[in-house]
Point group: C2
Chain length 146, copies 2
DNA sequence: CTAAAAGTCTACTAATGTTATAGGATTTAT
DNA sequence: ATAAATCCTATAACATTAGTAGACTTTTAG
């Protein structure tokens, strides 16, 4: 049940961008700054941010003084959206995926006990990640710092 | 967030063994029968059952008329135990794992927003898998069949 | 006692996925 | 024009996964 480094780095970067949004209007931040502050390999982060950009979650500005910033207010972006962009479906098995259903190979899906339980697991994960916004995470971090 | 085939096959096999326990005292079943009924490659299943045996979750009997059976009553075995044996820790990131903690590389664990949320995810998964027994799964399957 | 039926155990392989790194192309401010 | 930044694609090194192969051991039936 592991989160990939790609997903981890991407989520951490997005939380940083959400935090930056509070200091300046857009919160535009350069790759190298995110990379330095979060200790993420810069060229790897570049690919990740590009994927998030293509998914419409961040915008960017090229050239001198450019950088990345959230495409929407931080309370309009959920961790679930970021996760799915970088790591694919939340569901532990494809046969309970809402976004990318596929049969998993059990003889009868309707009476597959594993499928029932994994459906619960998927819903539990979704209830957290699809209902947690970047703004909520930033708020929680501030509470922890206090 | 994917369950491996190894984990999937192992969980399905264990649910079958739990069901078999209701028909005969031990519910002893041969690899080839599990393999046929669950459509799992026999030699792969062999390795999986061996791992479950070494973890003390099933017992076996060699020779003619042998097979595998649950080491305890089906209500004494949780899906969490099986999952961990075959796929490792439940936690999406090591820094929130109860069984196998390791730092994940964020600059400060105490104020890492991702870590907080992933802690919640781990707990949600654990609440399901560590509280669901094989007996409960079998019961649920029967309810679905009715 | 022997042969067949079952699990035991280890090694190997092919395919895939992960985690990067490299380097040129493009855009923008000065 | 130049420097600073993102854009984009390729590729390499490594790890994991899913499965296969085969020799070995134990047990029972005859």
């Amino acid at each position: 049940m592991r989160l990939s480094k790609r997903g981890e780095y991407g989520l951490r970067a997005m939380i940083l961008l959400a935090d930056a949004q509070k200091n300046s209007p857009t919160g535009m931040t350069q790759i190298k700054e995110i990379s330095a502050r979060e200790e993420i390999p810069a060229k790897f982060l570049e690919q990740i941010l590009l994927a998030l950009k293509n998914a419409g979650l961040v915008h960017s500005k090229m050239g001198i003084g450019g950088g990345y910033y959230l495409a929407r207010a931080s309370k309009e972006i959920t961790l679930g959206q970021i996760f799915r962009t970088l790591d694919g479906p939340l569901a532990p098995v494809k046969c309970v995926s809402q976004m990318a259903y596929e049969p998993c190979g059990c003889p009868d899906e309707e009476t597959c006990g594993l499928r029932m339980v994994m459906g619960d697991v998927r819903n539990a994960i979704s209830n957290i990640l699809d209902n947690t916004t970047l703004a909520a995470v930033v708020k929680r971090v501030e509470a922890a710092r206090a």
